[in-house]
Subunit: 299 residues, 4 copies
């Protein structure tokens, strides 16, 4: 069985690592938070004193970190500290599952390639529920060989596994998708509220648009109008689901990419502004479909 | 068999009336353009010298006109001319298939109700191809009884037939759907181009987003990026399909409704502005997915 | 001295009529609200039982009403009631100071012209303070002769008096100006907050931008950031000034005009959406510079 | 007299350095382009083989470079090359006049402070004409002492000299101003075109709005509608002035800052999208007031 190093044991990384253990793999974990480490060692993980210590002998190194600066620092090291690239085996496959800027992914990928090491970015979607259930979606950026090799570990943690292109393409594809998702959510919300303001039943309107040219994922799976669908955040006071703050983060990444590539994203940047306003009004930790309230409230 | 009066024999009305004739109904037609009338009488229609003449003895009166002012004028008449409401049988069902402002539909509906006549708005989607094939979508606003009664004629001309609510609801549901469609189209275009600008293959990115949370009708049926799908306007230099000018018209109706109901539609109004700019640059008669070029062009 | 009929004695019309009385003119007033009438008769106005009664013998007829439908109804009458155009002297000048849609103004102007009567639209800005002080701005649409004739009464009630063009041009110029004002206010708010979020002193930033290429009326007279200027609404918890609800009304008029003329107004329509959201959150009766809070709030 | 090192002799830097020479200062220049260097030595400048060589003995070091990466590289050096901070005198004042991201300015400022060297960011506006005439505007970020010391050289090159705050504040104030400027330009353009589409004379409408609440710098100095003002780019087929590509660059910087500080800038980001579309259609090298054509074109 494969030996895996897993670095970053937060709300997502913890259950992802647990699934690898359950599948019988030898998993060595590291996190700055000792409680997070203990939760995994209690399930059978080994632990190491440092990230480099965990990674040194692994076939697969999987990282799950908050932002690009953490990924760069961990992989590349600095004047005083070695980075993962300085210690891992040339045969190892490095997989970063963090959602970060594509430039950081490309930088790490280029430095890895200089040393003859395979690196792949593989950001996920599916949330903590998907992490626990092993049904995450992975969007991979890397060589075809790396993509094939990664199936060993990714199929244990996820359902859909896409290959978007070269290193960095996973990050780009994810932010394109999530930017589009934000546009779908805002556009669907304002369309439903326009119907409501004109006397339509939101359930009837949703049913019509769902099978018409307005059909989209939010109408299928995640209707933002309360009490149209059961068991979605909008019918539970927008608790659970995908937090506004996380959507704001992803929309920030998409805007940084758009600036870097000189691209125009009028809908995506407008969605970002509306979500930032929403977060500033105190809704950052509610589900992102709560943007519906920006249109529906009447005082 | 039902007797039908059909008034307004343009690109849509002509083939719709033809399908009623083919189904064996007795159809009396009227249009200000004699050539349009002759095309139908050659297929077996009767003709009348006036719209009121055509409608006086019909079980169903179907109208297909350009704008609200034409509908109000035809149904209500004026100081010098009788309107349809002055001449039709109390048992007749009046069905207006035009795409117009909901206020005009409600006004005609209210005047009809005063006289004990059933009126229904039933705007269509599906374009000239759907009109010819008898596969249009109808979105109906009217009483349940009217909706049931209308099946006799609507099922001959269309596939999906929805009941959105009371009179006017058909218009509202249609403009909500088409406003959302415009948002999907613009949002999908800018997302695909952001991917392209960052080195992704638009086909790969489309395949990923289509089955992810960015999934929507445009990715399924009508990808705006050339050469991703076959047999869609984007792969035929944006010929055919649904014209930019018609989308501008529908977005104008949605904005008028939003002003009247004091609703906020940031995405829909932005889409309208982008489509108006696009039309002013000379693209009004191309397919509405050509908005993609606003993002993709590089000179 | 001129004899004046003044119809519509609300927050604006009341003090405007009072200034005409103070200037020694014979003013006959009418309003549906008897209390409003009494307030003016106490200051020396005559009153009439109907609007037509007030207007029949006047040299100038001035109207100040809420919306286009009221203006059309008052001037044109209906099947059961005479309109002002049926009773006024051919020598009278009719001046509508309401802020309404240009189409209504043009319709009344055309009907007046058919009867050989001069009509002018002359919407105002300056608020209730300007109405009381006699310092309103009037933006006039009508013939040069009407514009000259109107000076007799307008100079009593206002300071700046502009001639924008033919009938209806006053309304168009006003909504163009107010749409632009809303864009200045939102754009200035978000720019100041971007500076604040990056550590700048809003007073210093305002001083720099005011004399640079970002200079605009809001920085000069009406800074939206609290405590940058004294005696502006932002330094008084956004009380007083020009209400959000009134800006929403004007932005609705500008959007209706933009739809009718097939014009693109991306900034103006976005400002409208933001102001509608703001009003729906309960801020409709606060000053319109309170839109700053959409950007500044941090919970 | 002061000795000055001037590094970066492009369209802006060249004439700025020339003004220092004319004022009698001893100026040592450096640029990678020998032609640019020769143009200055012909006017009396000394030259150096390297940027560090030029800066080593100077009282003032002034830099004018394209982007943040060039500034970081020049000041900080790398593994193989010394940076300016390694060679300049502790008494020297370093002034970077480039328009770059605030983070780069802050980084260089912090590294300078560690070495006890004063650094100030001082981005300019006023264009090549202002550079030649010595009438540039400088917006400075740095200590009060640095700001006072800098007057010696800045007053030779410019007219308005502002102190926005600590290091980095110059960059932030400039992008806030230029973001607001882009909003003024787009908002004014669409307002003028809405008036035009409704029959108004753009000169009359401009005159009204200029002295009303829509008043702003673009109406005062830079009307975007052709033939309203003389001697502005809009009356010269949008030649000269401030290029669209430069506005796109500044709006990119403002969006990066907004993402970094989690700020919402709906108007600024919409302006950026419209300007990027405009540039992609081939207008990148025309004056930024040509955005008016996005609204005015009618084919």
């Amino acid at each position: 069985m494969a030996t895996v190093a897993f670095i970053g044991l937060g709300n997502m990384g913890g259950p992802m690592a647990a699934n690898l253990i359950k599948a019988g793999m030898t998993v060595t974990v590291f996190d700055l938070n000792p409680t997070a480490v203990e939760a995994l060692t209690a399930q059978g993980a080994l632990s190491a004193k440092t990230a480099c210590g965990a990674a040194a002998a692994a076939d697969f190194v999987i990282t799950m970190l908050p932002a690009g600066k953490h990924v760069r620092s961990l992989y590349l090291g600095d004047d005083n500290n070695k980075g993962l690239l300085d210690v891992v085996s040339k045969q190892a496959l490095l997989i970063d599952c963090s959602t970060i800027d594509a430039d950081s992914a490309r930088l790490v990928g280029a430095k890895a390639a200089e040393k003859g090491i395979e690196f792949m970015d593989a950001p996920v979607s599916g949330g903590t529920a998907g992490a626990a259930a092993g049904t995450l979606t992975f969007i991979c950026g890397g060589s075809e060989a790396a993509y094939q090799q990664a199936q060993t570990v990714l199929t244990v943690m996820g359902g859909n596994i896409f290959h978007a292109g070269a290193v960095g393409a996973g990050q780009i594809a994810k932010i394109c998708n999530n930017m589009l998702l934000s546009v779908l959510m805002v556009g669907t919300s304002e369309s439903l509220q326009l119907g409501l303001d004109n006397g339509l039943d939101p359930k009837v309107l949703s049913d019509i648009m769902k099978v018409s040219s307005g059909g989209n994922w939010t109408l299928e799976k995640y209707n933002p109008c309360p009490d149209v669908m059961e068991n979605v955040p909008s019918s539970k006071d927008y608790q659970g689901g995908f937090m506004v703050d996380l959507m704001v983060k992803d929309l920030g990444l998409s805007q940084e990419a758009a600036v870097a590539s000189n691209s125009s994203t009028p809908m995506g940047s407008l969605a970002r502004s509306l979500y930032v306003n929403h977060a500033r009004q105190g809704h950052g930790r509610r589900d992102f479909s709560s943007i519906f309230e920006q249109f529906s409230k009447k005082k």
